[in-house]
Amino acid sequence: MNFLLKRMKKIEPLFEKGGRFEKLRSVYDGFATLLFVPDKVTSRGSHIRDHMDMKRTMTVVLIALMPALLFGSYNIGLQHTRAFGINEWTMMHMFWFGFLKLLPLIIVSYLVGLGIEFIAAQIRGHEINEGYLVTGMLIPLIMPIDVPLWMVAVSVAFAVIIGKEIFGGTGMNILNPALTARAFLFFSYPGWMTGDNVWIEGLVKGGGLDGFSGATPLALAKLDGFAQMPSAMEMFIGTIPGSVGETSTLAILIGAFVLILTGVGSWRIMLSMTLGALGMGLLLNATGGSGYTQIPAYYHLIMGGFAFGTVFMATDPVSAAQTNTGKYIYGALTGILVVIIRVFNPAYPEGTMLAILLMNVMAPLIDHFVVNANIRRRLKKIRTA
């Protein structure tokens, strides 16, 4: 590795100010620090620092996403065989079929997103922020598989520029960038983001089996089609139509386990959001009513994007509440809102995305009240003293 290090050091001056490639400094920096943790030593404050850095933090999230990604690939193939009546495919066949369909989405997402990040880092004179490594993987996983690539590109650009960079970049954004991308497409091109056909590879072009419906469980629930809904076990395992990474609650739970074990994801948000949704579901069950309100409360946890949103979206540390108490409130309210939007909103069958985005906006307010309670405790000490 010394050879490589020497080569890198040798070309480094080219990228510094006044060098031939100074406009590519952020690119060089990004790759150099990816290969080698820099030889920079502490100069102020604590002389020793933890080995943990942003690259490792983000890598942990990427690892946590892998089960959902792998299962999602398999499920693309599986749903395709069901829709088109293909019987002879093996599991591996289905996986590779799905993976190769998914790969272009991932590549486009990273190319466009990282490209913008490199430019932003260059303009600001900062190092590249690793946040997009996660965002760039999340975006393909919350898209319908048949979404056109140019739409992915446009939505990524919108999310990174409008959702993040204009607020000051990573760490300053109010909304979760990945959900911003999805919301952008959802409202701009609803035809590609909703309906019964977009969730299964190839179905938009037609040619599916007669009478086959690619409707998601959520859509079925919305239309009182309870009889046609898949079993709870199927929804838990994830062999249902839906966005690429969201269908398998099981795979997502493995990811949740990784995030909680490493302390990178907030268990407070995951727990309170689950309890919030469950509680709201039970409350609706108890009210009597009919139709959607009577769906078993735990169905809300295994249908649609709830699990994925809870584990990977609502927990985004930048856009979620930042105080521990605030996280409980934020999570619970998000969970409650998901169910309310799902059941009572006439237009959309799914509520996870909108609930999280809405609570992203509310999170600073929640923190404000939590921090104010701390301030009042301090002021009270003065008065009683």
């Binding site: 290969l35 002389h47 620092r49 080995h51 942003m54 933090t57 490493t262 540390p317 521990n324």
Partner: protein, 450 residues
């Protein structure tokens, strides 16, 4: 005895290289220095020039804002150099020791003196700067009467000396006299915090005129600021003072003998030292004496103080005014291939993303590598885990960065010192210079409040 205050938050950094409890004979050095950076916020006015003769206790410089606060020479000799840095900013007064002349400030029983007389003796003898105040963690301002005085009798920072061992080797019985002098300065109490577990040496146990508090928990439980927060926090408008335990002895020695003598026992520790033992040394003494022939091969950083809050000094630099430890740490100026992705069997971390969490070692070698690059604040909910105070660290930091004085005040800036945030800085994956931000916030408060 009082109830035990249990702290769950914090982190013990298991750094290799603790000093063995053996007190080595004195090593003579002739170079002494008083560094200005040891006193944050100080604007100094020199009272000596190069080539001036000084005695132990002669004034070297005073505080511009409070001229009665004097800083004196620890030894007799000649002012060899007044070191200045960029823009002629004062760095250090260097004294070449010669002779043993010392100024006699007069022995006296503090219990028979008035508050004004005790104060005057402390100021005149130049011992005063050992008293530090909260808010701001700066040299105590004379004139104010502190609500209470706090002393920490244990140090939880990495490789810290065992103060029980230090006390049992500190002879002369001046500790009680020091406590008596302090008790004259406040209408409140003199509080001593000690570790709940472990035997307290008789020198500490039998003290009178003090209130004891037992603490249990990881670092920073030994930080006096954390202890104050749990015993009786500092609110707006209040002032409390803090003193290092060994400086209480120095105060006692002043009243017992009449001389300014801050000789103390320190530990020499860290992975870069061959012979890690305890030493008797005066603040300001060049560390060259204890380091000579004692360093391992390689590139090392000498730190006066602990690895979290200490100051980098050269191999013949002056031992800090408030320190009780010299740490020698390997410099981490190497590039690690895919270091951020390595499993990390030998890497100590707060984070559970390293294999070292599964197979813990007793001790770890750490170096000065930053292990990453500077980033914006991203991670939440972890800084709180290493700060055992009812304070929202990130919100306070952001208030400081925004210069919002009122918010800083509301979020508890009066209670904190940079050392209390050292662990937040250590664990931060964004590599923010948190201690520096806290100090800049405190400096802003001082400016706004005067």
């Amino acid at each position: 005895m009082s109830t035990v205050i249990k702290l769950r938050k914090g982190l013990n950094i298991r750094l290799a290289g603790k000093a063995e409890k053996i007190l080595l004979p004195d090593v003579a050095v002739t170079r002494f220095g008083v560094r200005f950076a040891d006193f944050p916020g100080l604007v100094a006015r020199l009272e000596v020039q190069e080539e001036d003769k000084v005695m132990a206790g002669s004034v070297l410089f005073h505080d511009k804002a409070f001229p009665e606060i004097k800083f004196v020479s620890p030894v007799s000799g000649v002012v060899k150099e007044i070191v200045r840095g960029e823009k002629r900013v004062l760095v250090e007064v260097v004294i070449e020791q010669a002779g043993t002349d010392k100024i006699d400030f007069g022995a006296a029983d503090p219990m028979k003196l008035s508050r004004a007389e005790v104060t005057e003796k402390l100021l005149k003898s130049g011992i005063w700067p050992v008293l530090r105040q909260r808010p701001y963690h700066i040299v105590a301002r004379p004139g104010a009467v502190p609500r209470d005085i706090f002393i920490s009798a244990f140090d939880t920072s990495p490789l810290a000396p065992d103060l029980d061992y230090v006390m049992s080797n500190t002879h002369g019985g001046h500790l009680q006299e020091g406590i008596n002098a302090l008790s004259r300065l406040t209408d409140g109490k003199v509080h001593i915090s000690h570790e709940a577990e472990g035997s307290r040496v008789p020198e500490l146990k039998n003290l009178k005129n003090v209130e004891f508090h037992a603490f249990k928990g990881p670092h920073p439980a030994g930080n006096v600021g954390v202890q104050i927060h749990h015993i009786s926090p500092v609110s707006k408008g209040e002032v409390v003072w803090t003193v290092d335990l060994q400086d209480v002895v120095a105060i006692g020695r002043l009243f017992g003998t009449g001389f300014h003598d801050r000789e103390r026992i320190i530990a020499l520790a860290g992975p870069g030292v061959q012979n890690r033992k305890y030493h008797r040394i005066r603040p300001g003494a060049s560390v060259s004496g204890i380091l000579k022939g004692n360093l391992k091969e390689g590139k090392f950083r000498v730190i006066s103080g602990n690895v979290l809050t200490g100051k980098k000094i050269s191999q013949d630099g002056s031992f800090g005014f408030y320190d009780n430890l010299v740490t020698v740490l390997p410099e981490g100026d190497y590039s690690e291939f895919f270091g951020w992705a390595a499993p990390g069997l030998k890497k100590f971390s707060y984070w559970r993303t390293f294999v070292s969490k599964l197979i813990p070692r007793r001790e770890y070698e750490l170096d000065t590598n930053l292990h990453g690059g500077h980033r914006a604040f991203v991670i939440t909910g972890h800084y709180e885990n290493v700060l055992p105070m009812d304070i929202y660290p990130v919100h306070l930091l952001k208030a400081i960065m925004a210069g919002d004085v009122e918010l800083m005040e509301n979020l508890g800036i009066y209670e904190v010192a940079e050392e209390d945030f050292a662990l937040c800085e250590f664990i931060d994956p964004s590599k923010t210079e948190i201690q520096e931000i806290i100090r800049s916030g405190i400096n802003l408060m001082i400016k706004e409040m005067n």
